[in-house]
Symmetry: C2
Amino acid sequence: MEKYFSTIIHGDCIEEMKKIPDNSVDLIFADPPYYLQLPKGKRLKRSNGTEIIPVDNDWDSFESYEHYDTFTHAWISECQRILKPTGTFWVIGMYHNIFRVGTIMQNLGLWFLNDVIWVKTDALPNLNGRRFTNNHETLIWSVKSKDCKKYTFNYELMKKMNGGKQMKDTDWIFGLCRGNERLKDENGIKAHPTQKPLKLIQQVILAASNKGDVVFDPFMGSGTTAVVAEALGRKWLGVERDEKYVHLAINRVKDFIAKKV
Amino acid sequence: MEKYFSTIIHGDCIEEMKKIPDNSVDLIFADPPYYLQLPKGKRLKRSNGTEIIPVDNDWDSFESYEHYDTFTHAWISECQRILKPTGTFWVIGMYHNIFRVGTIMQNLGLWFLNDVIWVKTDALPNLNGRRFTNNHETLIWSVKSKDCKKYTFNYELMKKMNGGKQMKDTDWIFGLCRGNERLKDENGIKAHPTQKPLKLIQQVILAASNKGDVVFDPFMGSGTTAVVAEALGRKWLGVERDEKYVHLAINRVKDFIAKKV
DNA sequence: GCAAGGCATGAATCTACAT
DNA sequence: GATGTAGATTCATGCCTTG
């Protein structure tokens, strides 16, 4: 286990998790593919003619709900296995996928503590006036099983961060990841399509882990979990399937450590 | 069909829906049992010693997730059948049940428009400091199938009600049903454990139906959907299994009509 | 240097119509 | 019916240019 810490493993998360012992991580944060089912190749345009770049990456493509469910069941059951009885497991998603994710979690015996709503402050408006603006994502917060009562939750810290009042599942109000925080490629284009804001992950890690705890992320992407865990003195470990993102995340963490020292 | 309008049918909603023709209702609002899985007989107490009355009614008891799913699949597939291609179907729930409900809806081919968050302004605080305050419920808004594009949505009205800006899925901020609005029995105790606020149902009906449309509610409970539909000039129809609530709702609607005239 | 305004852009299940 | 093209539509934020 120890040899792994503070590294991003390039590989399939299910295969890599199989190498991790039972009951060995304190906190899991997972940002899996959402299976958006957007039409391939079609681009929505703003009135000024600029295009909206959708998430139509290969990693978000599945043949059917059934295929998505099989994949989801596989990685979630590994997460459940490696999670300590005192640990907690977070998954983020949207209405496209979160209901399926939640059902599979319950079927596996994971026990829900909350469904937390990340309310966005600067989401893309609905461009055709046929729906309500899609302005939030949902985080499911769970424990390994119903009888896990002694999980880590820094209630008082959350209360303090919320101005002295008990933090609610709807008090998670953050902007999207943009500006200088958003990683860009050599052409100035966003380097990862779904980079999450530091503040969001920070709140998760502060709420549900302590210094020295092991934080695991099966879909490391641009490495936000790694940077926040490193900054907050947690041990961490991540898996990422796409080599391009592995390099992105490793460099990001290196940069962060270099600037800190 | 016509003979049914503006009535509350006493019976099992699945059996009663079977009598309703295909493609015949414009809007369905459903507030099904949440399957809270609270321990029977246990009562939480406030610090002043008073008891919190939980929802532990028989209608919320199921043997297992599987039984809940079977029941859910049955009533939702009937709703899908009776819904017009131009109509929309709303279901409200919490983290205990909404993920299962959403998965079953997707499996049946219902297509999601939004998941709307009802943010409460006066929810019960978390009493033991082991979770975030549970401050919202989730409404899934859907159409009969993916290809139903011409559904009713009063976009401009919603925008106007939201101060001239596009209404978001997180702009649904209402207090709980309390005070004079909350129905009481002869002893002054709440007459129905989960009575929904008028404002919430009003926003649903205003958003997704027009005058003269048919609104259906398979779990009528205290009759909130009936009262709002009546007030807004919609035709309506409801089913309720518990005879006590049927009488409650009928009297409530009668009172409402009497006061209006 | 500072204020004002221009402009780019965000996990998006788009709609209507013609062929 | 399936497929392709044109069209209408939006809000908050932050960086950058201009004055």
